[in-house]
């Protein structure tokens, strides 16, 4: 059995500078055994580096540290500076984030590596010399670099020197802070390979903190996701990356070009906001937050095997679930099955593409899901409740649908204002003035002109793109949690289509609603979808994350589709 190398209990770090107090790390706990590899992911400022520095005991005097950092049964935080110095580097070493100033500019590489050895391992001069060269060899640097100054090295070489330096005293725990940022792809790969080789060889307990998913993915077995100083999700790395349970983790993954290589890049909306003492720290950026989230700080709770998430709603919600949906149409010669036992689910904040050729049952399914069409069998649950009739569409925070043909979905003799205001008026929401404000906002959102002249325009005077925008505005005025977009761009020219899609995706990203995007256009789906369902003859024949479906399709039909679309 591996012995526990490092254990962190309830670690909190508070910076107080000139009366301004920031809690950089909140109640962090984890344990690490020898040979284990732990990753810490988070945006800049999430507390990764502070955690590393706290473990090393290197925080400035302005930082207040509480909790326990136990190594070998000793609480490092209670040791004196001298006692800590014996442990630093010899037992726990750190590879700092690579920066120009991280190595002393006036000392040679040799001197900077040798001084660690001199300090901790009483060696003769010759042995030290030999060890320095051996370390350089280990990290793949020629011995001629030993006598160089840091400014003569490239970024990748500097990273290697940092690693050689960290390994100089054979530590048991190695903390690696952002090992691959600012490196080119080749250097990045080399460094990752180097670190993982060394970790195996020396059976190191490794902590890698990074904001690069691919690095974490390749270097670690366990992962913690940190947001504003607290852990919002932790679990096995594979599980966290491919089945994230916290909206923040999903946002990070969606922002990663390595993991999300097809879609447009969309970061997590809003930068870090000043946080309140109580409540979930992700509250303001979350797509599924409730009032409870503003008040209550969620604890880290188990949500699967070796998988924990800190979310008041138990992780990413299943917003819509269709089970066993059956629907058939009668024609003269018999029955045509449009949906055969369809199962489908949409999570909050997710863009799901439903792909199929015409006549595959997509639109039927969409109409059933939003309650417009009765089904022959099965059930549809929205936020855990069965949908009856138009329940879900005739309310705020429900489901809205936008149709393919905006020429027929909008009464062309209505004015723009009438079209957009209509749902509010029918449902008797708000006073006249309030409604007007809402219409203005909706038009603003879809980037249409906000003028009296435009309000009173009859819809037959609008272009196709404008009409589709008006239709979207009509849907969004009901603040839907799920927007079903049924082939909304298929009748538009490519430029208008691009504009509408970017607009829609931008709105989705900032407002956080989920979207079911129905299309027969694979390349389009590839650009926008998080998950994909492939439908044929009323059946779902393939489903999965966009990456897997497009990279490794399983069914023959999908393969053929991809081939036809030249993807």
């Amino acid at each position: 059995m591996n012995k526990e190398a490092l254990s962190i209990k309830d670690l909190s770090v508070t910076y107080s500078t000139s009366g301004y107090v920031t809690q950089a790390v909140k109640n962090l706990s984890f344990e690490l055994e020898r040979g284990e590899r732990l990753g810490i992911i988070g945006e800049s400022g999430s507390g990764k580096t502070t955690t590393a520095l706290a473990i090393m005991g290197l925080l400035s005097s302005q930082a207040k540290v509480s909790g326990e950092v136990t190594y070998n049964g000793k609480n490092l935080l209670s040791l004196s500076e001298e006692e800590r110095n014996c442990c630093r580097w010899k037992k726990i070493a750190i590879v700092f984030q690579n920066s120009l100033d991280i190595l002393n500019p006036v000392l040679t590489v040799r001197a900077q590596i040798a001084e660690c050895i001199d300090r901790h391992l009483c060696m003769s001069k010759e042995n030290t010399e030999e060890r320095v060269l051996e370390l350089l060899r280990q990290v793949g640097l020629d011995r001629k670099w030993a006598d160089c100054y840091p400014n003569q090295l490239s970024g990748g070489m500097r990273q290697r020197v940092l690693i050689a330096m960290a390994l100089s005293c054979d530590p048991e725990v190695l903390i690696v802070d952002e090992p691959t940022t600012a490196l080119d792809a080749v250097a990045k790969n080399d460094i990752i390979a180097l670190l993982s080789r060394i970790q195996k060889e020396k059976n190191l307990a490794l902590i890698v903190s990074s904001h690069e998913m691919s690095t974490i993915q390749k270097l670690t077995d366990k992962t913690m996701v940190m947001y504003m100083g607290s852990v919002v999700e932790c679990g096995r790395t594979k599980e966290v990356i491919f089945n994230p349970r916290h909206p923040y983790t999903r946002g990070l993954i969606n922002s990663s070009t390595q993991i999300n290589c097809f879609r447009d890049l969309w970061g997590i909306p809003q930068e870090n906001m000043s946080k309140k003492a109580e409540g979930c720290s992700f509250y303001k950026r979350c797509c599924q937050s409730t009032d409870k989230c503003a008040r209550l700080r969620p604890p880290l709770e188990k949500c699967g095997e070796d998988h924990c998430v800190a979310c008041n709603r138990g992780g990413i919600l299943k917003l819509l679930e269709g089970r066993n949906i059956v629907k058939s149409y009668k024609i003269k010669s018999g029955k045509i099955a449009a949906c055969k036992n369809v199962d489908l689910s949409i999570h909050s904040g997710e863009v799901v593409a439903l792909i199929g050729e015409s006549g595959s049952g997509k639109t039927t399914l969409a109409n059933i899901l939003c309650g417009m069409l009765s089904k022959d069998g099965g059930e549809v649950l929205f936020e855990g409740e069965k949908i009856r009739g138009f329940d879900a569409t005739r309310r705020y925070d429900g489901i809205q649908i936008t149709f393919q043909d905006s020429f027929s979905s909008i009464d062309e003799h209505f004015t723009v204002y009438q079209v957009i205001e209509e749902p509010l008026r029918l449902l008797k929401i708000g006073t006249k003035e309030e409604r007007r404000e809402m219409v203005e906002q909706a038009l603003w959102d879809v980037q249409l002109p906000n003028s009296e002249e435009f309000y009173s325009k009859k819809c037959f005077m609008l272009s196709g793109g404008q009409r589709q925008r008006v239709a979207i505005a009509r849907s969004l005025i009901m603040r839907p949690k799920l927007l079903i977009a049924d082939e909304i761009s298929s009748m538009l020219d490519p430029s208008t289509q691009a504009n509408i899609l970017r607009l829609l995706k931008g709105l989705q990203n900032s407002k956080g609603f989920s979207m079911l995007y129905i299309t027969h256009d694979l390349s389009l789906a590839k650009k926008i979808a998080d998950r994909v369902y492939i439908m044929k003859n009323g059946e779902i024949i393939e489903e999965g994350s966009a990456l897997t479906v497009f990279m490794n399709p399983e069914s023959e039909y999908t393969k053929r589709l991809l081939k036809c679309a030249d993807l």
Binding site: M56, L58, I102, P105, V106, H120
Partner: protein
Amino acid sequence: MKTTTKKTLEYLLTLFVIITLNFFIPRIMPGDPFTFVSSEENSVNTVYSDEEVARLKEYYGLDKPLAEQYGNYLKNTIKGDFGYSIYFNDTVLNLIGGRIVYTLPIALASLVLSCVLGCLLGCVSAYHRNRFFDRSSYLLITVFSQIPSFIIGIFFLFTFAGKLGWFPLSGAMTIFATYDTPLAQIRDILHHAFLPVLTLTLAHIGEFYLLSRNSMISVLSKDYITTAKAKGLAKKRVLYVHALKNAVLPIITRLCMSLGTILGGAVLIENVFNYPGLGTMMRQAITYRDYTLIQGIFLFFAVSVLLMNALADILYRKLDPRVAQ
């Protein structure tokens, strides 16, 4: 190699400009050497007749057109002939040589003292940043360094030499004294040099203090200091090897450059203490419009500043591997 040639050319050009200015500035001043040449300071001013002035001008070559004088001056300077003082009746080289032995020691002594003390205080201050020692020494030194050095000098002269009589009022050594031992002579010289050196040191301690404090503060917040601490190195090694080696770079440059300002400062201070150095002689040379001597002294100052600049360049290259490349 290329940069060295470029640098050398730069220095030569600067030197040429200085020599030229050196020639013209005394000549722009009103008056000429012969208005004063016959008179001692504070005595009856006898005046040369016009014929005598013309003869003397011819003798010293001052009647020739300015361009020709300039040409001759350049030629002689390059040959190492700095001319003959009209007032002191000696070669300029001899005169400067005779005075420099007084000026250089007090300049160097105060330079070293102000640098060492200033840096020491600066480093300690930086290490205890924002604590009592730092705040009080910072305040004291910034205020103090704003007072012009000659005022400090006059104050010392009045109190310690005049009122209290602890130090001699003027000169570099007691006049007409005979010494029993060489030690007694040295003691006498130190006694005379004490106040000028103290004044000059105080005048320059501020710049070294502020510079080293700033430099140390910025170095202490650098990433490589965190790296050094993380390695578990002893505090001494972190401070004296990792921090100081970096912090000392700007100080070295300043030290070299300061020689120029400290020589300038010495001119004032020597006059306050009536110290028989280059400074007092320069005042006299200017009073008597002793063109050749003025040129000589100015040139000496200019060349020494240039040399120190060059030294700073060379040292910096040696010490900072980033510049060395």
